[in-house]
Structure formats: structure tokens, C-alpha cells
């Protein structure tokens, strides 16, 4: 549907313009990759061990901190009214908004993650798993995060509340993904954690928009 296409383009452009985009993620990982060796000493073994985990945490934190951009501006400047007034169901609109956010912030971070991890000394054969975890995990973060952002619309202290709501929702994917990465690095079977991560992301993508649309309607009324 071409409407959703234009919406996706707009959301990506907006998120890209304010605090998204490849540069932020590159800069961010550059920071991590510069700082971690400084902070914990340059022994390669230690660095390599924590590299994938650090990339994974960074992804979650960056998602957390960019959430207030998802609905709040559109709510305050009236754009959400116009988005809600459309033959397109609001659920789909919310899903596309999250997807745009993910394309502009989650995906570049995910693409940069394996590079940073390898720069820190992670083994090359981890690349596909790191990338897959970061891509899927980013999707889970974007869609669960959207729920928090939508629920705290119109609340006093919106930003604060978003964080409180979203943190517990972020815990499961972080556990799953971190578990898969650690298992892989340790030579243990990793598909278990990975499948759970994918399942969580799928549930978030499928059910999150319902909650977001309900929350948006509630805030607009």
C-alpha cells in the first residue's frame, strides 16, 4: 500500500534527522571501542570476551534513549490527529512508525555492531550471530519501546515514565540475546536463546501495535 510507503519514508527521514542515522551509531561505537580498552586495559583476551556484549547493551541503551521521539512530537503538534484520521488502521500506522524508527536508528547500529565487536577482537565467526541478534533485537526494542512511548503520552514527566515502563520490557530480549551470544562464544548450543529472542521480537511486532494504537487513541480522546 503506497500510503504506508510514504509514511515509512517520512518516519525514517524524521528519525534520521533528529538523533538517528549512521553517523550517530558509528560515533557511538567508535566511542565504545575507544573507551573500553582505555577503561579496562588493552589485553586482547578480555576485550574480545566482552565485545559482543557491549555492542548488545549499547543497542538497548540507544533504543531506550531515542524513544521519546517516536510519538510525542506528533502528539503535541497535531500530526497524530491526522495520522489517526485515515482509512489505514492506527495499528498499522503505529507499526510503520516503529519500523521507521528501527530503520533509522536500530538498523545502522546493528550493522555497525559486528564491526565494532571485531574491532575489539571478537572472533570473525561470531559476525553472523551478532548481526542477526542486533537486527532482531533492535526490532524487539523498537516495538516494545513504542508501547512505553505511546502509553506515557499526555502524562506528566513523559520521558521518565517511558523509561520506567520500557525497562522491564527490555529485560527478556536482552537476556535471550545475551544468552545466545555468550553460549556461542563459550562453544555451547546457542540456538535456544536465539529462538526465544526471535519469538519475543515476533510477539512484539505482532502485539505491540495493538497496545500502541489503543494507547494513542486513549491519549487523543
Amino acid at each position: 500500500m503506497s500510503r504506508l510507503g510514504t509514511l515509512l519514508a517520512r518516519e525514517t527521514a524524521l528519525a534520521w534527522g533528529r538523533g538517528g542515522g549512521p553517523l550517530v551509531s558509528v560515533g557511538f561505537y567508535a566511542g565504545v571501542a575507544t573507551l573500553l580498552p582505555l577503561a579496562i586495559g588493552p589485553e586482547p583476551a578480555r576485550l574480545a570476551a566482552i565485545a559482543p556484549g557491549a555492542a548488545w547493551v549499547a543497542l538497548a541503551l540507544a533504543s531506550l534513549l531515542s524513544l521519546d521521539r517516536l510519538f510525542e512530537r506528533d502528539f503535541e503538534d497535531g500530526a497524530l490527529d491526522h495520522l489517526a484520521l485515515s482509512p489505514v488502521p492506527l495499528e498499522l500506522t503505529c507499526a510503520v512508525k516503529c519500523l521507521g524508527q528501527w530503520l533509522a536508528t536500530g538498523a545502522p547500529l546493528a550493522l555497525a555492531a559486528p564491526i565494532a565487536a571485531i574491532g575489539l577482537g571478537a572472533k570473525l565467526d561470531m559476525t553472523p550471530l551478532i548481526l542477526a541478534c542486533a537486527l532482531i533485537g533492535g526490532l524487539a526494542f523498537a516495538f516494545t519501546g513504542g508501547i512505553g512511548a505511546a502509553l506515557s503520552l499526555g502524562a506528566r514527566r513523559g520521558g521518565l515514565l517511558t523509561a520506567v515502563i520500557v525497562l522491564p520490557l527490555f529485560v527478556p530480549p536482552v537476556i535471550f540475546g545475551g544468552g545466545a551470544l555468550a553460549a556461542f562464544a563459550g562453544g555451547l548450543p546457542w540456538p535456544g536463546g536465539f529462538i526465544l529472542l526471535a519469538a519475543y521480537a515476533a510477539a512484539a511486532v505482532a502485539l505491540g501495535p495493538l497496545a500502541m494504537a489503543a494507547a494513542c487513541r486513549n491519549a487523543l480522546s
Binding site: 500510503r3 510514504t6 509514511l7 517520512r10 503538534d77 500530526a79 490527529d81 485515515s86 482509512p87 487523543l220
Partner: protein, 205 residues
């Protein structure tokens, strides 16, 4: 397509306070209605209730027998105090996004650009537009994606005398084409229209 709008003993409350009750209205294709009332009477709230964004406390809104959700989704435009335009994007980007979102095509967008004389502004960011230019951009949606019911909230206010006349002509043309207009105003509309005064019945505080 929407060819009638009826309000049947509608009541709206905001923040626990009843704004108005027992408000009835019936508009058919080709008619306009000016919604008047003091500041805070509930004009904006009524327009949002017609658009389905705010729930009615009592009564009903009808669109000539159509399913309300469908009628609202594709049949009405709401141009409010807040225009939803992003200051950092260009006129072109915003016009083309909103027109496509409302279902307009390239030809209609061109027509709206012409009618509202947005051509010279296309590459300016919205934040640089003057108040009247920005309002013209918001109004361009009405032409870029033709829909029968226009809900307008003080549409004329930042426009200069020339543009008020021209926009009056656009409203006239819309009515002639079978459209309906419900417009909240403090000054008289430049077209023939019913009036509905909110708060006159004594329901407001």
C-alpha cells in the same frame, strides 16, 4: 461518500466538565455551517468529536447512514489550530506526504499547489513560512485529496483579505460540488451558511 452530517442531541465533556449538551444539527450536501461560541465553549471539541477523536458523552453523530469509522477515515478533513507540520521539513515534503497520506495523487497536488500559490514556497522549510503561508500549506490538503466533509477550525484567521476572499471562493466551489463544511469561527464566514452557537443553550458553565 458522505452526503449528510447529523448531530443528534450531542454532549461532550472535557476534564470532567460538561461543555455542552443536547446539540443538534443537520447538514446535507452543499450546505455549510458556522460554529460560533465564546472561547472555551467547545467548538474545537465538537469538531474533534465529529471526527471521532473525542468520544461523545451522549447523543450521536451520523453521516447519512454510512458506517462512521469508514466515513471518517476517507470522507473528512480536519484542519485545526495545530497543523501537524514539521518546522524542519520543506513545504514540498510536507505537502506531498500529507496529500499522499490523505489519498491524493500527483495531479491533485499540482492543482492544490496552483490554487494556493505554494509554488514559490516549495523549497522553503516550514519554519521559514509566514503565518499566512503556513496556513495556506495546511489548507492545501483540502484540495490535494478531495473529500466531502470539511471540518475547519478558524480557517481564515492568519490569512490576509485577498486570501480570505480566495478561500471563500474555494469553499463555495466545494459546496457546489456537493461538499459539506462545518467551520468554527469568530468572524462571519465569507459564504452563505447556517449558524450553530455553542453555549447559547446554557449548557456551558
Amino acid at each position: 461518500m458522505i452526503d449528510a452530517l447529523t448531530l443528534d442531541r450531542a454532549a461532550v465533556q472535557r476534564g470532567g466538565r460538561l461543555l455542552f449538551a443536547d446539540l443538534s444539527l443537520s447538514l446535507v450536501a452543499g450546505q455549510a455551517c458556522a460554529l460560533t461560541g465564546a472561547n472555551g465553549a467547545g467548538k474545537t471539541s465538537l469538531l474533534r468529536a465529529v471526527a471521532g477523536l473525542v468520544p461523545l458523552e451522549a447523543g450521536a453523530v451520523g453521516f447519512g447512514g454510512l458506517d462512521p469509522t469508514e466515513a471518517r477515515g476517507a470522507g473528512l478533513h480536519l484542519i485545526g489550530h495545530q497543523d501537524g507540520l514539521k518546522p524542519a521539513r520543506t513545504t514540498r515534503e510536507e505537502l506531498s506526504f500529507w496529500s499522499h497520506w490523505c489519498g491524493g495523487d500527483a495531479a491533485a497536488i499540482d492543482e492544490a499547489t496552483q490554487a494556493l500559490d505554494l509554488g514559490p514556497l516549495m523549497d522553503l522549510e516550514v519554519r521559514r513560512l509566514s503565518a499566512g503561508q503556513r496556513r495556506r500549506l495546511a489548507l492545501a490538503r483540502l484540495l490535494a485529496a478531495p473529500r466531502p466533509l470539511w471540518l475547519l477550525d478558524e480557517p481564515l484567521s492568519p490569512l490576509d483579505a485577498g486570501w480570505r476572499t480566495r478561500f471563500g471562493a474555494m469553499m463555495q466551489a466545494h459546496l457546489k460540488g456537493g461538499g459539506l463544511i462545518l467551520a468554527a469561527v469568530h468572524d462571519p464566514l465569507p459564504i452563505k451558511a447556517k449558524t450553530l452557537e455553542i453555549g447559547a443553550q446554557g449548557a456551558g458553565e
